[in-house]
């Protein structure tokens, strides 16, 4: 499919800007060849329109036909009726216009503000059309997949992409992790941003696995050893998996703040009052509040202390139980000798990307606690660095993208306004930090945060609430809904928002074969050594 003009499909017969246009198919175009999600171009009188097929239907000119159907086994009858008395229609949502004059050629595709006139011709978008709209692979644009049923490479402008926080959604097993790996590779090559990945399932740092046959797939550090550092919370586990790690993260009690307890309220099953109590105890004991709280035990003083702080005994016990659960995590120590945040920032400032592996701590408590705590402190440091760079006119810190999974744990309406990730998402990269959130239950994320996400990439979702929350505020929502609902259960996704001129469903780029790694690494400015290492990897 590389001809200048795609196959002619039919003509526009009705429509509106709001609802899109109806296209009656020529008899030469079979309904069965039409696919929801494919792109078409419409030749209007003054401009070309670019749109997506969002529905396909069958029509008859006379209802008699449906009551008294013709004998379609008769080739004569079927050929006469096909496309005349019985016909197919496609519903097209025009999204962009490309004007005919020079000015609009320079400005590029514009959002639609009108509809093509009656009987404008409609054809499938050709590869040339697609690259006109989405751009070709270059130093900023990274190939992430192919538009459905097309050979064209869909390329995302990554510097543009990382200007906002972004989200990757999809139900379990649809390819979020694979897609994220691809995006991370893109970002570390083309975005000028550094990444910090909170890697709950140990699949981004060294290697991950694929569902079919539990095949191993390479992850960031294997492919880009010079650009990626792996931090771990669980060195034994990392070692067993043969991961070469760069830093072992230990967390001191004194690094945990009551804010972290806000996020953990649900997972630790502690009461709201217990969280309030944590704030009081923090004020009372200062940084050592956790140690002190655990130490007071059941002594006489406790009663007095509680009375003084006006904390109910059961509330206090609830908090203590929660803190004990945290204390049982073996990467937690009363006081960590080396500060993980400093080391992390050291790597980030050098332009390295950091993956933090959780090892065997795959439960949500550890994940939420560590991610929130580290992000909070890193963000504070970024804030400082940004302010300094402005007042002292020195270089800004490298833009940072923080990747978190199970994002609804950090960004649900209950905590989004109080926890650091909510702040980052809302501030739109004021301090050079943005998020890449990954979630299978987007409806669990605060609406405001969802609306702040610049680009959303969503794999198949089947829960109505999740679909609604992902598509909230997008124009052509109901049409996109049907596109989204029809994605394949794996390796397909719908991209829309800031980084793409119009929504586009894609088949995600292949990841996991030796060929694919070559593609990823080859396109990079990877050093000679890295290239050599890569060669060795698949020898």
């Amino acid at each position: 499919m590389s001809e200048e003009k795609g196959q002619t499909l039919g003509i526009v017969v009705s429509g509106s800007v709001d609802k899109g246009v109806e296209v009656r198919l020529d008899s030469s175009a079979s309904v069965e060849d039409m696919v929801v999600g494919r792109y078409v171009t419409i030749e209007g009188r003054q401009r070309r329109f670019f749109g997506m097929i969002t529905d396909i239907s069958l029509g008859v000119t006379d209802p008699q036909l449906t009551i008294n159907p013709p004998d379609v086994t008769d080739p004569f009858l079927s050929e006469v009726l096909n496309g005349t008395a019985t016909y197919g229609t496609i519903h097209v949502l025009p999204m962009l216009t490309i004007g005919g004059d020079v000015a609009s050629l320079i400005e590029g595709p514009q959002p639609v503000k009108t509809v093509p006139s009656h009987f404008s011709g409609v054809s499938l978008a050709s590869d040339a059309d697609m690259s006109l709209v989405f751009g070709e692979e270059d130093e900023n644009r990274f190939f992430i997949g192919n538009p459905l049923d097309m050979e064209t490479k869909l390329c995302l402008d990554l510097p543009e992409f990382v200007k906002r926080s972004n989200g990757i959604f999809g139900k379990s097993g649809t390819g979020k992790t694979f897609l994220t790996r691809i995006l991370l590779i893109g970002m570390l090559q083309k975005s000028q941003a550094v990444n910090l990945i909170f890697d709950m399932h140990n699949e981004y740092g060294w290697e991950g696995s694929s569902e079919e046959g539990r095949r191993k797939v390479k992850a960031l550090k294997q492919l880009f050893p010079e650009k990626v550092a792996v931090f771990t919370l669980d060195p034994e586990n990392s070692k067993r998996r043969g991961v070469s790690t760069d830093f072992v993260v230990r967390i001191g009690y004194d690094e945990i703040e009551p804010e972290d307890m806000v996020l953990l309220r649900q997972t630790l099953n502690i009461t709201d009052l217990a969280v309030e109590a944590a704030y009081q105890l923090r004020r009372r004991f200062g940084r050592g509040w956790i140690q002190s709280t655990l130490d007071v035990g059941e002594s006489e003083d406790t009663q007095e202390l509680l009375k003084e702080l006006n904390i109910h005994e059961s509330t206090f016990q609830s908090l203590r139980r929660g803190l004990q659960t945290i204390g049982r995590l073996s990467f937690i120590e009363p006081h960590a000798s080396v500060d993980a945040v400093n080391s992390l920032l050291g790597y980030l400032n050098k332009g390295m990307n950091v993956v933090l592996e959780f090892g065997r701590y795959r439960d949500i408590t550890a994940y939420v606690l560590v991610a929130n705590m580290l992000a909070r402190r890193i963000y504070a440091r970024y804030q400082e660095m940004m302010e300094r760079s402005m007042s002292e006119d020195i270089a800004q810190p490298n833009p940072l993208v923080i990747t978190i999974e199970e994002a609804h744990k950090f960004l649900n309406p209950e905590v989004a306004s109080r926890a650091i990730f909510g702040t980052i998402a809302r501030e739109m990269r004021k301090y050079n930090v943005s998020l890449l959130v990954i979630d299978q239950r987007p409806s669990g994320i605060d609406d405001e945060v969802m609306s702040q996400l610049g680009t959303k990439i969503t794999c198949l979702l089947d829960n109505e609430k999740d679909i609604d929350s992902v598509l909230a505020g997008v124009s052509g929502k109901s049409e996109l809904k049907s596109v989204l609902a029809r994605l394949a259960p794996k390796q397909q996704a719908l991209i829309f928002g800031h980084a793409v001129p119009m929504p586009v469903p894609i088949r995600t780029r292949e990841y996991g074969s030796a060929e694919s790694y070559k593609g990823f690494v080859g396109g990079a400015d990877a050093g000679q050594q890295a290239k050599k290492d890569i060669e060795e990897l698949w020898d």
Binding site: T61, D62, L77
Partner: protein
């Protein structure tokens, strides 16, 4: 080029929409649905034969049965040669177009055909040229006639089909045109398609 042998009769009644012709030969009728023309090369009117009769020359007089003692039908005409004079065949044609050697228009001519105009059965070549366009179908299906219009359309297309090398393709194209014209009347469409579908 019209050969004299194609001359089938002479106009004896004419109006804007149709003409009636009497045949030179008793039973020398052009088939139902055939394309006929009247007028000279500079101004031809085309018609489609939609109805034909053979009856007594004198309107009030009906023929009587004569064959009681004859063994064959032919025998009747042989033993009463005057019959050829007492009976006549007539046909009516619906006007579907007009034109000259340069162009054919498939709409009504400005004036009706002239009385005594010679009527010719159009030869294949002319039928083929004429049926390059299907606009005449619209004239056909919108008239009301003593015969069923569906019957007539089907007969016309079958006749015209003979003139085309690829009869199938011709019928298919005509069928598709009809499907568009009769888009809101599938039962009529079906009646016609059923009559032109190849066996």
């Amino acid at each position: 080029m019209t050969e004299p042998s194609d001359r089938v009769g002479e106009v004896i009644e004419a109006s804007t929409t149709e003409f009636v012709a009497e045949c030179y030969e008793l039973y020398g009728l052009p088939p139902l649905g055939s394309l006929v023309s009247v007028g000279d090369a500079a101004d031809k009117t085309f018609g489609i034969v939609y109805h034909a009769t053979t009856a007594s020359v004198e309107p009030g007089r009906r023929p009587i049965a004569r064959g009681k003692d004859e063994v064959s039908e032919e025998g009747i005409y042989k033993s009463s040669p005057q019959l050829e004079k007492l009976l006549r065949s007539e046909f009516s044609a619906l006007v579907v177009g007009h034109g000259n050697s340069e162009a054919i228009h498939q709409f009504l001519p400005p004036k009706p055909a002239r009385i005594h105009g010679f009527v010719y059965l159009c030869p294949s070549e002319q039928v083929k040229t004429f049926s390059r366009s299907f606009d005449f179908l619209n004239l056909l299906i919108t008239t009301s006639l003593p015969v069923s219009v569906e019957e007539l359309v089907a007969a016309t297309l079958r006749q015209m089909g003979q003139a085309h090398e690829d009869k199938q393709a011709f019928l298919k194209a005509a069928g598709r045109e009809l499907a568009t014209l009769l888009s809101s009347d599938y039962s009529r469409l079906r009646a016609i398609l059923g009559r032109i579908a190849p066996e």
